[in-house]
């Protein structure tokens, strides 16, 4: 188990290293010279330009610059923003709580509503099942940003139940401010999770070991919990995990819609302003978080499914 985790961590580190190079060189390959982004369209004298080039090390060869940047990243120095001159690391740190709260909130909603609705639909059948199927089909087709706009329109503007902007402070404040964004963020994923959970439960219900357990006189309650739900959770875990990992990037849309000061909104702004120092840092952070979440899912899966042989090729 430990070897498995260590090897996966090693693979993740390698992926991050290559990703960092990819992200860095992609920004380098973007059209226009770096200093033209730095001066942001202002006319400056050649001397100023030269000093800017020197300050950012733009005259160094590409690999040297990458090396310097990577060295900084590894020591926690993410450089400074090209537009605001602020330290990217502290900028990032101030944005992380909002995104963290938002994605965790959404993840809870996905697990609770997606898995619960799917499991009940699969176990009960009937009208509830039809309702969940229908709801998941619609929910899946509603884009996050449209859900955001709709929720805002109904619950903030019309009913005035929730604030329109801001991310709140304190636990209650966060919950109040982040409820609508989290619902919008969770909706499509919860729909997919509900659908897949339902299918998994229905398939597991048909399994022979389930009818064998019932034929042995094991009570339905126990069979449903121990044999149907337990087994159906295996495929569901993967789907839930994939969807939660995707929230990392999906949060950007919701943060933009609700003007939340999260990491995603920061990414969008910096892309629009071509503030590549920030783009690089955020991208690297998101890839790292994405990788860690995926790793946790794989470990979790190996723990709950005894048939998974740890230490196998993790491709």
């Amino acid at each position: 188990m430990l070897r498995f985790v260590l090897r996966r961590l090693g693979a993740l580190a390698a992926t991050l290293l290559i990703s960092s190079f990819l992200v860095f060189s992609a920004m380098y390959a973007a059209p226009g010279t770096p200093e033209s982004f730095l001066v942001q369209g202002r006319t400056v004298s050649p001397e100023v330009l030269a000093s800017i080039r020197a300050q950012y090390g733009l005259d160094d060869p590409f690999l040297i610059r990458y090396w310097n940047w990577l060295g900084g990243v590894l020591t926690g120095d993410l450089g400074e923003s090209l537009t605001t001159r602020q330290d990217v690391a502290s900028l990032l740190a101030s944005r992380i709580p909002t995104t963290l709260w938002l994605t965790l909130y959404a993840a809870v909603l996905i697990v609770v509503f997606g898995v619960l609705a799917g499991a009940l639909a699969g176990l009960r059948g009937g009208a509830f099942d039809t309702g969940v199927l229908l709801g998941s089909s619609v929910g899946f087709a509603v884009p996050t940003f449209f859900a955001a706009v709709l929720l805002m329109s109904v619950f903030s503007v019309t009913l005035g139940w929730f604030p329109v902007f801001g991310s709140g402070s304190g636990f209650a404040g966060r919950i109040e401010h982040l409820t609508l964004p989290a619902v919008a963020l969770a909706l499509p994923a919860a729909a997919v999770v509900a659908r897949i959970t339902r299918t998994a439960v229905v398939e597991e219900r048909e399994a022979e070991h389930v009818s064998v357990a019932l034929a042995r006189g094991v009570p339905w309650r126990v069979v449903a919990r121990r044999h149907i739900l337990r087994n159906a959770m295996l495929p569901v875990t993967t789907i839930v995990g994939v969807n939660i990992a995707a929230l990392v990037a999906g949060a950007a849309v919701v943060e933009h819609a609700f003007t939340l000061d999260g990491v995603g909104a920061m990414l969008i702004n910096s892309v629009q302003q071509k503030d590549f120092a920030v783009v690089q840092a955020v991208a690297l952070l998101l890839v790292a978080v994405f990788g860690v979440v995926n790793l946790v899912i794989d470990i979790l899966y190996a723990v709950i499914d005894p048939r998974v042989q740890l230490g196998g090729e993790s491709a």
């Binding site: 920004m27 089909s137 729909a191 789907i239 990392v248 933009h256 998101l286």
Partner: protein
């Protein structure tokens, strides 16, 4: 013995009658898609308004004989914007799906044909791309290529290539190992000829199914990028952009623009996902 003389294995999944496979719901979805496409193509015939021009005096009008669905914050006709917006939304998604399918197929064929080192290399590249969340990859590509419909479709296509390539690669590898492909190779036909003439037609059904499934996702993601201000730029009409632009009006109590455009997206995406699901026999959410 010629390649033609060898019996073609029946791997192509015909699955009986197409209408039968789609079912009533699937046929309804096809009808919806056809209707939207027709409306997009015939936009100038349906409305005489220019989607990009409006007069501020006529802003936020309700439905009238002149403006069937009313006007937006700049006094532009909403129906015209929805109709012309269908063009960008459909065309954008179509290009994304086409590019992603072509790129995926190319990678798959190369991996399958050369095998070993090349296949492993393609696998590594795909793994690396999978390390990026889909939307992040698209956003980064926009950062490199810039905003605009053309740039953003390419960006999204890049983000989709790993998914199509992964599916197609396994199919192509399976096909590669079949007797008739190996026989054609033994005859001295070049890899290019065998890949295009023999392997490609056999992975075509998967390419199509993948395209149908991805179409809905592509519409949503394109609209999302436009919503974020990274995609289609004003004053071009686009559903995602309309939802975005309607947001401010909505906070002032004019919900029409966002709601109309959003509903259009939902209906179109639902229709495409039903078709993809029926064709692929897959559950919704299984990105191909």
């Amino acid at each position: 013995m010629t390649a033609q003389a060898l019996e073609r294995p029946a791997v192509r999944r015909r699955g009986g009658d197409l209408a039968d496979r789609l079912g009533p719901l699937g046929l309804a979805a096809v009808a919806v898609v056809a209707l939207i496409t027709l409306a997009a193509l015939c936009a100038p015939l349906i409305t005489s308004h220019d989607p990009a021009i409006g007069s501020v005096i006529e802003r936020y009008q309700g439905p009238s004989a002149e403006h069937l669905l009313g006007t937006d914050q700049s006094g532009r006709d909403l129906l015209a914007r929805l109709l012309y917006g269908a063009r960008t939304s459909l065309l954008g998604a179509a290009v994304v799906v086409l590019l992603a399918g072509a790129g995926g197929a190319l990678l798959a064929l190369v991996a399958a044909w050369f095998g070993r080192t090349v296949d492993a290399l393609v696998g590594r590249v795909l793994d690396l791309l999978f390390a990026f969340p889909n939307l992040l990859l698209a956003i980064l590509a926009v950062a490199v290529f810039g905003t605009g419909l053309g740039q953003v479709t390419v960006a999204l296509a890049i983000a989709y290539v790993p998914y199509t390539a992964r599916v197609l690669r396994s199919v192509a590898l399976r096909e590669r190992r079949l007797g008739y492909v190996q026989a054609a190779e033994l005859q001295g036909l070049s890899g290019l000829v065998v890949s295009v003439r023999h392997i490609l037609p056999n992975i075509a059904p998967q390419i199509l199914t993948g395209a149908a499934i991805n179409f809905g996702y592509a519409m949503i993601d394109l609209a999302a990028l436009s919503f974020l201000g990274l995609g289609v730029q004003p004053p071009t009409a686009d559903w995602g952009l309309m939802v975005s632009q309607g947001k401010d009006s909505l906070l002032q109590g004019h919900a029409q623009q966002s709601v109309f455009a959003g509903v259009c997206i939902v209906v179109a995406v639902a229709a495409f996902s039903v078709i993809g699901e029926r064709l692929g026999g897959r559950k919704a959410g299984g990105r191909a």
